[in-house]
């Protein structure tokens, strides 16, 4: 369906049942109608895949699948014959005193894929590695196994907190995807016939014209399960994103405030501390929306409770934040203290909702509270019960401006093998071995459901998770876990979030400042500047590090951080619009350049800069003592405008930009229109009704297009009652107009158009605003001839109506 190919290989007479997830995504139905048999012999069949003269050749001996387009092989399965499904032999593994005797025996599966013409593959997060995946010849394969890793290493294929078994391949001709639907421990080997070649060797091939076609071979290996593979045939990146979205769903549309700035620390000590930090932001005029409480806020690490001495009046505290139109997040981890005086534990135990050990008793392990049980989140009844615990009368002290953070949901088990759950622990009939990587997804799913339920289904939830799997995007945000206050960790935040975006998870961020250790002031400032342009923008710090609220580093640095955060707030309308699209069509918010410039090979390995949507290019300064950066501005014949100076630069060039400590190199694409709110206030909620400023960046052909999306910012009414405004803004023929993109929708906003800034303009003699009531008003304007910037003064028209400004 839609160029997505499902290949599900089931064995005949299996030794045991293997786990599979029927109909994983919303509304996935296998359409085999389009398949038609073209030819057949004793060793195989040729099937037509319908559109685009695509064929599938199935060969029986040896087994092999080839997907063809015309005469070209797009992808081959099992061309190297690495298909395995082991059933023979039994063996045991021992961890400390625990023996995993693998009651189902060896059950691993593996399959290889050949990608002719492909030199670049991406995805399979989570790894602290470059955007372009490396070949794994002679080293460890990329490992997918959700683990709580202490102080992870960079440029290493080791497993981290989350796992999304989705790989994208890209060449100038085509983008494709492979979704290996398996939640057991998985390894991915990548090899390439060009990767090992020297530049000289490649040159020689070129000169002699004898080069073999470049090819990437990928082998997937999982410890258990069935081979259940989805091939997304593209051909464009956009197509692959929609095809994958049809399988696992799209990004949850977050409340607008969740896209603003988050202030976190392990830990804000008590209510007074929270009040003082809140006050600090106002005193230093730095906006923030959320303040976070880590594990120390609880009564002895019993989640859903409060420390009676440090947080005796949580509702007073939350009301204080609400009075400032701000919010809070408290942590709720999935390990539950085994304590007969703890309500949550007693209920889970009595309902039999805990994960069991192989002998049938409740599985127990060590985590923050000491001895802990682990609820079986794969059980829908357990999830429903868990969700009900977020009701305001269950979670005492909670209020509607309090949201949730799920940490340690790999799950982390301090005394378990590799700090996680034993593989023979039982979730119902399934071993943890079979679905390990899904645990974290289900935790976040149940929590998000709880937040929706507590509001009677009205409010959008916000839940942050550390562990994730394919589909986690539907439940909230993820962050890159416990990083370190080092420059390399700042740099790696870019490819880590880009990789997640490619496989559906747009709401990604790294701890600003770095979790472990203490950042230098320069690193902290640079991290704020980078984080301000990444989707999830939260500062966080380890318990043992010195305090680092933004005003603790002298007035100059306070001002630098204030400016970075203010840039974020001004751009929130654009961020919100990008998330609306991510939610609507599965397009990533933060994108590698190649997604928008798929033929420009220069962009294929780039991961020190990125795009937000199509229209903003960000190249943050991530070098210590950086005096300049070289940004690549793509697109031959296109132009880019520096968003701070409005200076115009031509596309398809490496541009050296001298930088100071205040520089955040950001460029707007010529041909785009970006809405901002220039009146930055102390929280995003305070800015709700503020007017918009439109930044119209003209293409060389004096054309530009953009959008404006507005809704109430926090409920599902945009979806259920079509209460939103979605407008097409376009500039052509010297006229800028706003037209309704969603005629079926309705929403009333008091916001109006405050100012229009046209970049790359020429000076008009007059500017006329035409409104639907037939009125025409002359607009005053200013023209900066040195930068060709035309500023239209106060159109004043409501943001939700049709209007046109004509320049003469």
């Amino acid at each position: 369906q839609d160029s997505t190919w499902v290949s599900q290989l089931s064995e005949r007479l299996p030794v045991h049942y293997r786990v599979s997830f029927p109909c994983f995504g919303p509304g996935l139905i296998s359409h085999l109608n389009d398949l038609s048999l073209l030819s057949q012999d004793e060793n195989g069949v040729v099937l037509s895949l319908g559109a685009d003269s695509q064929w599938l050749i199935v060969s029986a001996k040896p087994f092999r699948l080839d997907i063809m387009e015309g005469r070209e092989v797009l992808l081959s399965l099992n061309s190297r014959g690495l298909l395995t499904a082991k059933e023979d032999g039994m063996w045991e593994e021992t961890f400390k005193s625990h023996t995993d005797n693998k009651p189902n025996g060896p059950s691993s599966i593996s399959l290889d894929f050949s990608l002719p013409g492909v030199e670049h593959v991406y995805g399979i997060p989570e790894h602290a590695d470059s955007l372009k995946l490396k070949t794994t010849d002679g080293g460890d394969p990329y490992r997918l196994f959700n683990l709580d890793v202490f102080q992870y290493e960079l440029f290493n294929p080791m497993a981290l907190y989350g796992a999304i078994p989705v790989m994208l391949s890209h060449s100038a001709q085509r983008t494709m995807g492979i979704f290996w639907l398996n939640a057991a421990e998985t390894w991915v080997d990548i090899s390439s016939n060009t990767a090992g070649k020297t530049v000289f060797g490649q040159m020689l091939d070129y000169v002699q014209g004898s080069s073999e076609t470049p090819q990437t071979d990928v082998r997937w290996i999982s410890e258990s399960g069935i081979i259940d593979v989805f091939i997304m045939l593209g051909p464009t990146p956009t197509d692959v994103f929609s095809q994958y979205a049809s399988l696992t769903g799209t990004q949850a549309f977050p409340p607008l405030s969740a896209l603003a700035y988050h202030q976190c620390r392990w830990n804000y000590n008590d209510q007074e501390d929270v009040a003082a930090v809140d006050q600090g932001f106002d005193e230093h005029d730095i906006p923030y929306d959320f303040i976070w409480l880590d594990i120390e806020h609880t009564d002895g690490k019993r989640y859903f409770t409060w420390d009676p001495h440090k947080f005796p009046q949580p509702k007073d505290m939350l009301q204080g934040l609400m009075d400032k139109r701000r919010k809070m997040v408290t942590i709720v981890d999935p390990h539950i203290k085994v304590d007969s005086s703890y309500k949550i534990h007693n209920e889970i135990r009595s309902k039999g909702f805990y994960v069991k050990n192989k002998d049938g008793g409740d599985y127990e392990g060590w985590c923050w509270p000491g001895n802990s049980g682990y609820p079986d989140f794969t059980n829908p009844e357990m999830r429903a019960w868990w969700a009900s615990m977020f009701a305001y009368d269950q979670y005492e002290g909670s209020m509607e401006n309090m949201y949730t953070w799920n940490d340690m949901n790999e799950p982390s088990v301090f005394n378990g093998p590799e700090v996680t759950m034993h593989k023979d622990a039982l979730h119902g009939n399934w071993e943890n071995r079979d679905l390990h990587n899904l645990y974290g997804l289900y935790v976040q799913m149940a929590t998000a459901e709880g937040l929706i339920e507590r509001s009677g289904g009205v409010e959008r939830p916000f839940v942050l998770t550390r562990a994730f799997f394919a589909g986690s995007q539907r439940y909230g945000a993820v962050w890159t876990g416990d990083n370190t206050a080092e420059w390399e960790h700042l740099k790696i935040s870019i490819p880590m979030c880009l990789s997640l975006g490619l496989v559906g998870v747009s709401f990604c961020g790294a701890d600003v400042g770095g979790f472990f250790k203490s950042p230098s002031t320069e690193l902290l400032v640079r991290w704020y500047q980078t984080g301000a342009y990444q989707p999830f923008f939260r500062a966080h710090a380890h318990l043992d590090t010195p305090r680092r609220e933004p005003w603790l580093f002298g007035p100059e640095n306070t001002a630098l951080i204030r400016e970075a955060v203010r840039q974020r707030y001004a751009l929130l309308p654009y961020w919100y619009q990008l998330f609306y699209h991510a939610h609507h069509s599965g397009q990533p918010v933060m994108r590698p350049l190649w997604v928008e410039y798929p033929q420009d090979t220069a962009t294929f390995s780039m991961d020190d800069q990125f795009l937000l949507g199509r229209d903003l290019l960000v190249h943050p300064v991530t070098e210590e003592g950086g005096r300049g950066v070289t940004a690549y501005l793509p697109g031959k014949g296109e132009v880019w405008f520096d968003v701070h100076t409005f200076q115009k630069h031509n596309g398809a060039q490496n541009l050296y930009i001298p930088v100071t400590i205040s520089s955040i190199p950001v460029f707007q694409r010529g041909g785009s229109i970006i809405p901002r709110k220039a009146r930055v206030r102390r929280s995003s909620s305070c800015m709700e009704h503020d007017p918009y400023t439109l930044f119209v960046a003209l293409s060389p052909k004096r054309f530009a297009q953009g959008e404006l999306y507005i809704d109430d910012g926090h409920t599902f009414n945009f979806d259920k009652q079509k209460q939103f405004i979605h407008r097409r803004l376009s500039f052509a023929n010297k006229a800028l107009s706003s037209r309704n993109l969603a005629p079926g929708s309705q929403f009333i906003t008091p916001s109006w158009i405050e100012k229009i800034v046209i970049l790359g303009a020429s000076k008009p003699s007059k500017a006329t605003l035409k409104t639907p009531d037939g009125k025409e008003n002359l607009l005053e304007f200013e023209f900066d001839a040195s930068m060709s910037v035309l500023t239209l003064r106060k159109p004043g028209v409501n943001a939700g109506v049709d209007w046109t400004v004509v320049l003469q």
């Binding site: 000590n269 501390d273 005029d285 001495h309 009075d323 400032k324 139109r325 318990l543 043992d544 590090t545 010195p546 305090r547 203010r566 220039a678 009146r679 930055v680 206030r681 102390r682 909620s685 305070c686 800015m687 503020d690 405050e754 100012k755 003064r793 106060k794």
Partner: protein, 538 residues
Amino acid sequence: MSCALLLLLMSLALAMGTGAAVEIQRPRGVPLSKRQFYEENKPFTCLDGSSTIPFDRVNDDYCDCRDGSDEPGTAACPNGSFHCTNAGFRPAFIPSSRINDGICDCCDTTDEYNSGATCQNTCREMGRKERESLQIMAEITKEGFLLKQQLIHEAKRGQEDKQGKLTELQGSKKGLEEKVEALRTVKETAEDPEKEAKERHLKAWEEQKELLRMEKDKTRMAEAFLELDDDADGYVSVAELQSHLELDPDSDGSLSETETQGLLGGADKVDTSTFETVWSGIKDKYLSEVSQGQSEPPAPVETPQEESRDFVSDHDSDHYPEDYAGEEEEDVEDDEEDDHDEEEEEEKVPPTVQTPEKREDDEVSMPPYDTETQSLIDAAQKARDDFDEAERALREVDDQMKNLEKEIGFDFGPSAEFAYLYSQCYELSTSEYIYRLCPFNRVSQKPKFGGSETNLGLWGQWAGPEGNLYSVMKYDHGQGCWQGPNRSTTVKLTCGKETVVTSTSEPSRCEYLMEFTTPAVCQEPASLDEVLHGHTEL
């Protein structure tokens, strides 16, 4: 007092009466002091002079001036500010971004004129509260400042006393030094004849001991000969000696005939007189046949003694060193540990060395000194005692002087008003810990329910901001934190009548904050009228 307040309220009421008229005459958000720049119906020039606009663009919700001065009453300019009059309380400027943001910032509610927020005018209440607290503060300051004067006076006197004491000590030190030197000469003069007499006595005793030893050896030899001469033929033969395996020269476990012959000087047997030379070769190894079967050799006796001592110390490991140290210190002064330790060791050495000597020489002990020697010794001992005592007295004076100099050298504030805190400690008890601040010394934390004390920092320096250096104390280099820095404590001083620790917290891991009130930081109070007047202008 009540008279002053009454007057103040009247003047407020008067101001309110005319205030309404004033408000009309200036655009929203403009302070009185800048009213003249905003003249109605005249073009407005931005306060930075950057441009001039028609007056109807002032507060028209669009930012025209770079400095934000055209929109004092709207949120249009990112860098603007809004003036709230706050009649009844204190006027204030707030950032323009807080106008109509739904949050009440000005107590007179003027910042939320179009946001739908329902704000209560709280200025009067806040003014009243502030006046009350200012009054209380003023009283505290007044009393505190009086106490401070007293402290300064006492500190001055204390300082003078100490200075006087120091001068006095310097004088007595000089005398003591002379005395020590004089007594040293006396001691050395007395020790020379003592040494000679003792050596003489010892030499005589050594000679006597040698004679005794030779005699004893002869007796032993005769006994051995008789013991060895099994057949009583007057000769010790090879066969008779061969049973004494302990004499085996190569210690291979067997005493061969040749080896035995060697011991006997090459002869097959020897008579009594020849045995004398043989005896000198074997007497160290020779074991009497009688004693061999009965008693253990003396060496192992020491082992159990040592073991039992270890055993005791193991069991009393907590108390043993303390008691031990305590006993020693009774006799000596507390300070200058290094010097004392050495001396103590020297004093302890002789008895332990003497013990084995005594044992070796059995019950035979040195005869008492003759009267002449004894009197020389007594004289020398007295000279030594006198010398030691004088030296001890000198050290004591030295210590006192050092302590005084240290105390005098401390920075106790501009008028030494903090001097009274020296060598004091102040405690605060929380639910878990007892915090202890000993100013100019250290800060510590002790768990209430058992556990050892943690050092939260040693006196570092005054660390207040410029112009108010003596408002903050810094204690650092406390106990190290796991994977973290050494603990440190910042002590914030505020004016109070009493000297007391009012709160402690740990805002950042291992960085403690302590609040401490003391009269010593109380500033000379401005008159109450002045304080109140300064904050209630319109």
